[in-house]
């Protein structure tokens, strides 16, 4: 491969990697925050993300299409509704499934299995409902505005949607970071994540904070779902699984339970995936194609965890006696 070609491919690859990474990070926050306050991996999170994407695509296709609103406003509206639906779903899962298990002091595996159950239930529920109205694979509606090319380098461009996704997902991460670090609610979340009993003694209603954590994580997943559908152009009842798994991987890579860790882990994973997907096929003359990128991405994950088991930003957990 010529140096010239590599130089030309680098900027768009980095842009796409960053977009993918920000989306992983936005999803990963839901995993890591719930893990932080409950020690639970909420495997239903990938389906909560998928439902957000489905809601947004349906809204844009059947309700907002043809409206005089600017496409960005249409997207924003769809995103808000998707966030609300995903948040409500996450909150519902906590209220009807996870909280009763905590109250009855169920063993740790019970909520995990419950999460997988909710996951499968949501996949099939969405498939059932969507099948009533035709195909359950739904394309993102054509919105020419988002395909307008913007110059990236003298001889390359990125579509408008890339910029929109970068701004929207970036704003989510900045907003969340501010909320967690600066606000009273954020401090309460951190306190509950550190020590539930001590937080309760400070007058913090632990169940309320756990619920809020699910709502915030769900809303972020809804936003990510909308943006993911915009970026990749389609959604189906099973399209939450792989990005959900990748986001979970990103959370572990960054250090599960750590909010900055989820952000860094997501971005690192997105960049690695895109760089490998672009350059390995070129370097190997297509002997190793793009479809093998996940092998490298997860291989790197395994390597990092061997040398730093707590993840990039995770701290060794001090076992509470």
């Amino acid at each position: 491969m010529s140096f010239q070609l590599a130089l030309e491919l680098l900027p768009p690859t980095l842009a796409d990697g960053l977009i993918l990474g920000l989306l992983y990070a936005t999803i990963a926050l839901g995993y890591t925050m719930v893990y932080g306050v409950l020690g639970l991996i909420n495997f239903a999170h990938s389906e909560i993300f998928m439902v957000g994407a489905v809601v947004a695509v349906e809204l844009l296709t059947y309700v907002l299409a043809g409206s005089p609103l600017h496409p960005v406003l249409q997207l924003a509206l769809a995103m808000i509704v998707a966030a609300a639906v995903s948040a409500a779903l996450a909150g519902l899962a906590e209220r009807v499934a996870y909280r009763p298990l905590r109250r009855s002091n169920a063993p740790k595996l019970a909520p995990l299995i419950t999460a997988i159950g909710i996951s499968l239930f949501l996949q099939d529920a969405v498939r059932f409902v969507e099948s009533l109205f035709g195909q359950f694979i739904r394309p993102f509606p054509s919105m020419p505005f988002f395909d307008i090319p913007l110059p990236l380098t003298p001889n390359d461009s990125i579509p408008m949607k890339s910029v929109v996704i970068l701004i929207a997902a970036g704003a989510m991460l900045v907003g969340l970071r501010y909320t967690v670090n600066q606000t009273r609610l954020g401090k309460a979340i951190r306190a509950v994540a550190t020590d539930r009993m001590a937080a309760s003694l400070m007058g913090i209603d632990v169940n309320r904070i756990v619920m809020l954590t699910f709502l915030i994580g769900g809303a972020l997943a809804g936003v990510a779902g909308t943006l993911y559908a915009l970026q990749f152009g389609r959604v189906d009842p099973f399209s939450g699984f792989i990005p959900g798994l990748k986001a979970f991987t990103a959370a572990v890579l960054g250090g599960i339970g750590s909010i900055p860790g989820a952000m860094v882990g997501g971005i690192v994973l997105g960049l690695i995936e895109m760089l490998i997907g672009t350059f390995v096929p070129i370097l190997t003359n297509n002997a190793i194609g793009t479809e093998y990128k996940d092998i490298f991405a997860f291989g790197i994950l395994i390597l990092i965890l061997i040398f730093k088991p707590t993840g990039l930003l995770g701290r060794p957990s001090t076992e509470k006696v």
Binding site: K187, R190, A198, L201, M202, I204, V206, T318
Partner: protein, 246 residues
């Protein structure tokens, strides 16, 4: 904080015949304790006697099977733990449980979680940093980096940020050097003189009875003796069991 008042004894905290279970284990049997306004009352007993469980039941962290806990005459039975704080009862738990990932200042802010006014929080913060100059020196440090004694001070200061009427202290001397143990007990006396009623659980019965007005002796989850601190200190069987041979 209020000035210490010399008003006649009025029960601030009444524990009436409570029973607490851990699964099938009957951890607390028919426990009754009264703490009057302005007093220091200590609950002594050996390891495993149920002292920590008793405090957990009072601050409503643990469910009570029967009996009742009254704060200022009002039942806490159906009050969730995070609301007990708002009624004026603060609990410094065993092993301090400070927030290791938060700074000293942030820990104190968490203590004032129930306080609405920022001006109030700021004035209480100043008050605590004056009462605990060591914490003022460490204000930007993470809680986890403090020494055991400093963590205990932080745990007490954090609870005092709530301006409680009664403070429950669980083994404040645990794991501390003798010098720090004395300082902690000095602090407890100072706080009490400023008007905070104290219920103190201690394995270090000698120190606890030295500053307390009255004491209860807990054994296998039941009160086996009670009385003035002076009487308990001079009681031979208590000396043998909890104070070591002197």
């Amino acid at each position: 904080m209020m000035d210490a008042s010399e008003s006649p004894a009025r029960p601030l905290l009444e524990v009436r015949n409570i029973d607490v279970f851990y699964g099938a284990i009957h951890a607390i049997r028919d426990l009754s304790v009264v703490v009057n306004e302005g007093e220091i009352v200590t609950l002594i007993g050996s390891n495993g006697a149920g002292k920590t469980t008793a405090l957990g039941a009072i601050s409503r962290l643990l469910p009570i099977r029967s009996g009742d806990v009254l704060l200022d005459g009002r039942s806490l039975r159906s009050v969730p733990p995070h609301d007990v704080v708002r009624r004026g009862l603060a609990h410094v738990p065993e092993r301090r449980r400070i927030f290791a990932d938060l700074t000293v200042i942030e820990n104190l802010e968490m203590g004032a979680f129930t306080v609405g006014s920022k001006a109030d929080i700021a004035s209480r913060m100043t008050e605590m940093l004056e009462l605990f100059p060591r914490l003022a020196e460490r204000r930007k440090q993470f809680g986890g980096t403090l020494s055991g004694g400093e963590q205990q001070m932080l745990a007490v200061a954090r609870a005092l940020m709530q301006h409680p009427r009664i403070l429950l202290l669980d083994e404040p001397s645990m794991g501390l050097s003798p010098l720090f143990v004395e300082r902690i007990f000095d602090i407890i006396e100072t706080i009490n003189k400023r008007g905070v009623t104290i219920l103190l659980v201690e394995q270090n019965a000698h120190m606890a009875l030295a500053i307390a007005d009255r004491g209860y002796v807990l054994k296998n989850g039941t009160i086996v003796d009670q009385g003035s601190a002076a009487r308990l200190r001079s009681d031979e069987s208590i000396q043998a069991a909890y104070l070591g041979a002197h």
